[in-house]
Amino acid sequence: MNIIHLILGLFLAGIAAYGIGRLKPAAASWLTLAASWAALLILFLGGDTLAGGNAWGLLAFKMTPLGWFFSMTLLFVYSTNTFFNLSVPAAPTRQAAYPMLYLISLASTIGVFSAENWLALFIFWEIVLWSSTFMIGFGKPGRGSIIYFGMSLLGSFMMLFAILVMGTAYQTFEVKGALMAAAQSPGPALLVFLLMLFSAMVKLGITPFHIWMPEAYHEAPDHFAPVLAGGLSKLGAFTALMVTSFLPASTLMAQPWQVRGLPLLTYILLTVSAVSIVIGTLMAIKQEDAKKLLAYSSVANSGYIMIGMLMGTPMSVSGALVHLLAHALATTVTFMVMAAVARQTGTTRMDELGGLLHRMPITFLAFLTAILSLVGLPPMLGFVSKWLILQSLASQGLFLVAAAAIFGSIGSLLYAFRILSTVFLGQLKPKHRQVREAPAVLLIPLLLLSGVTLVLGIYPYGLVQYTAKIENSLGFADTVQITGLSIQGNNGNLNALLIMGAFAIGFLIALGIFLKAPKSRKVDLMDTYTGGEFIYSPELYSYSTNFFAPLERVYAGLPEISRLYEALANRVRDLGTLVQYLFFSPLPSRTALLISVVTILLIWGEAI
């Protein structure tokens, strides 16, 4: 069994799923489940030494530690999400196409992470893009999939251009070789670096390329959004890390300007990522729809990943990789929970929900775990990565970026509480009194993912050790250090097990006090202090719309980047109108003029 078999098998399973889906849709969903779990098992057992291969002498594949880490992350997201495919059927006409596209995009992501050749990587990248565009289109009507496709196309063009530049300048398309060749000779290396990084930023949703995220996440089918958010955006991190480690900015422009020991270019890109954190946070705080809120939180979290990778120290890169996994796990759970909530109640608008914790307690617990990880609180995995990244920022003395990271970190507490409070806490709406817990088949992936988040948060040593291995394979001189149970930072140590232990002791004491005290009587949610008012309608007795209104007023004047894109689109449209007016006119005289100008240019153009 080698990688080619794996990829080919998933492709064939995808095509088979289409055929089966035409006859019996449920069977196709089961096929996606079986195929993706089998692939996960094969990849897990094969490890990063899974045999590579060479198909027809054209497409060479090789598994690297980095590729394995990314493949495992994505495969885990994909395969847990297949449970949602079972339970939430797509619209009838798409029942056959969806499983096919699902498996094909899965196969292609493995292709991206293991391809040895830039062109092969690009082809797989494009297959992922195309298949996911269609899958987004299966959701709510709107411009989401078009914006996604448009922005991604911009990224793809930049990437293709960079690949072709590398191909002509260095005569090689080999993934590692071309980047290393670029690092050696300046030439167009800077161009390659920027184009590659921009295309990665489009995928990761870094400002100013983030506008596709809220639209696409919002409109994607509820059972596909987890993969889109938790999995596919991580493709960008893969190429970005390849570029920043094999072609570091420090070799491109170490001179003349440096900021705090980092090249100016890196510093500018770090600032862009910091802006991404701030904008993502501020926008997330003011969303009314849960899925859009989570989308903007992804914008902010991508900023952290990017910062970790750009700083390029062993600890920061470890932080970025751990954050990538933490964010993949957590955001997948949050979107899955939203899918479950939407399935049970029919909406993801936060002002229409509330009090669901009394109806869906297990979903709530999974959501709580994920949200804590997103905020970066112990004992979840998100804390480990935030700690690593903040440590690196503090030891580099990058205060501007650190300020943004802190702002994003505290801001995440705000939007996380908003979504938690308006969906699960507060008054239960009368129309949701009959809502039941999500079916068991949906709870399995939720518990699996949040369980991994918790376990890795308490015991992250194996994971951090693996990031050290990745750093080794990427040619880092030194890697992140672990001695015993403590992760060695530049200016402090982290013992996740100890933190959990202290918390557990505290919890036992608290529980002891609680149980020792007299038992309390359970009262209804409406039985609250109202200051003497009589209240009858739970719908009116909740606080959810415009949740952070006072804070929003502070930054109400913030310009929105989507306006800029709209303005640009309008200019292009105007240009089109102008061209149409000039060259496609019904007036014969203008056509005659045009023909004569073209003829003159054809005859004497060379001379002019």
């Binding site: 009090g355 914790l357 307690p361 709530f364 804590l372 609180l377 112990p378 935030k386 700690w387 440590q391 503090a394 580099q396 003395g397 205060f399 650190a402 300020a403 802190i406 702002f407 505290i410 507490l413 705000l414 509480f417 938690l420 409070s421 699960f424 806490l425 507060g426 402090g492 982290l494 013992n495 100890l498 933190i499 232990g501 202290a502 918390f503 557990a504 002791i505 505290g506 919890f507 004491i509 608290a510 006090i513 609680f514 020792k516 005290a517 007299p518 309390s520 009587r521 359970k522 009262v523 949610l525 409406m526 609250t528 202090y529 200051g531 007795y541 606080y543 006072p550 804070l551 502070v554």
Partner: protein, 301 residues
């Protein structure tokens, strides 16, 4: 030191912190009463309150209401266990600033979860204000401490205390930063003008509105502990901690009573005024302070 001894020290620290802060808040109530020309309660009134509440029957609004409280108290106890006081530190090498801030934040999250699940919108509004205030004071505060960490090249609180013994208190290293950090601490403690999230006359004490009996008792214990964490963190980071216990206690009591007394003579901000306030002068001073540090750079090590 073996593991059990460390855990014992940590638990002792948490208990000490609770006793200390509950006593000092009792004393402070007396001081504030005198400022306002009242007699005030006895100094051990807070102990009385907590004991009374823990023995009273009460109501609950569901399991998350109680669970959140337990998380709040667990977070506070867990964080207090790491706090170095007067040269005593339970888990040497692990009293990391970022860890303390994040573990304490878990307690805050637990409190927010609990009061949010009570179903009372006043509580939700209170939490909303509290979080908004949080984003106001935390950014200048954390930024300053990161500057401090980058100056001392360590994020371990006890090591920072040690280094201050060598090179003088951090208040001398960053005088402007000290002022900003004190203003931030004032907001952290929720003293006027930054008690908008409680605002008893307006939103009926916000997050606390639904509590009574043992729930309120547990909340009070958690509150005293988190005040202990906040104030002793400040004393350790900026005032050189204390070589001996009396020195530490003196600094601690001075800072807490000063902040409370200032609170006693001020009015209350509206919540957006809080954010606007913090993002003007304190942030500006922080940036000036960091630039000053960068100019006279060098660090201790």
């Amino acid at each position: 030191m073996n593991a059990l001894q460390s855990i014992g020290t940590g638990l002792g620290m948490a208990l000490f912190g609770w006793l200390l802060q509950t006593t000092i808040s009792g004393v402070t109530r007396k001081v504030i009463a005198r400022i306002q020309k009242r007699r005030g309660p006895v100094w051990y009134q807070n102990f009385r309150d907590i004991m009374k509440l823990l023995n009273k029957r009460s109501v609950t609004h569901g399991w998350a209401f109680d669970f959140g409280l337990l998380v709040a108290l667990a977070g506070a106890i867990g964080t207090a266990m790491f706090m170095p006081v007067a040269g005593i530190v339970a888990f040497k090498g692990f009293d990391n600033f970022f860890m303390i801030i994040y573990l304490a934040a878990l307690g805050v999250f637990g409190r927010a979860l609990s009061s949010g699940s009570s179903g009372n919108p006043l509580a939700t509004i209170g939490v909303m204000r509290g979080l908004t205030q949080n984003i106001g004071y935390k950014v200048p505060y954390m930024l300053l401490v990161i500057a401090l960490i980058s100056y001392y090249r360590t994020s371990s609180i006890s090591e920072i205390v040690e280094l201050q013994r060598v090179s003088g208190w951090s208040v001398l290293v960053m005088p402007l930063g000290f002022v900003v950090a004190f203003i931030s601490l004032h907001g952290m403690l929720g003293k006027k003008p930054f008690d908008t999230y409680l605002a008893p006359a307006e939103i009926a004490s916000g997050p606390l509105v639904e509590y009574g009996g043992k729930q309120l008792g547990i909340l009070m214990i958690a509150h005293e502990l988190s005040v202990f964490i906040e104030v002793s963190l400040f004393v350790n980071l900026f005032l050189g901690g204390g070589a001996t216990l009396p020195e530490f206690l003196l600094k601690y009591a001075f800072i807490y009573i000063l902040s409370s007394s200032l609170g006693a003579v001020m009015g209350r901000f509206r919540i957006e005024q809080v954010v606007r306030f913090y993002y003007k002068v304190p942030i500006a001073l922080t940036i000036v302070q960091i630039l000053m540090l960068a100019v006279m750079r060098g660090g201790v090590r």
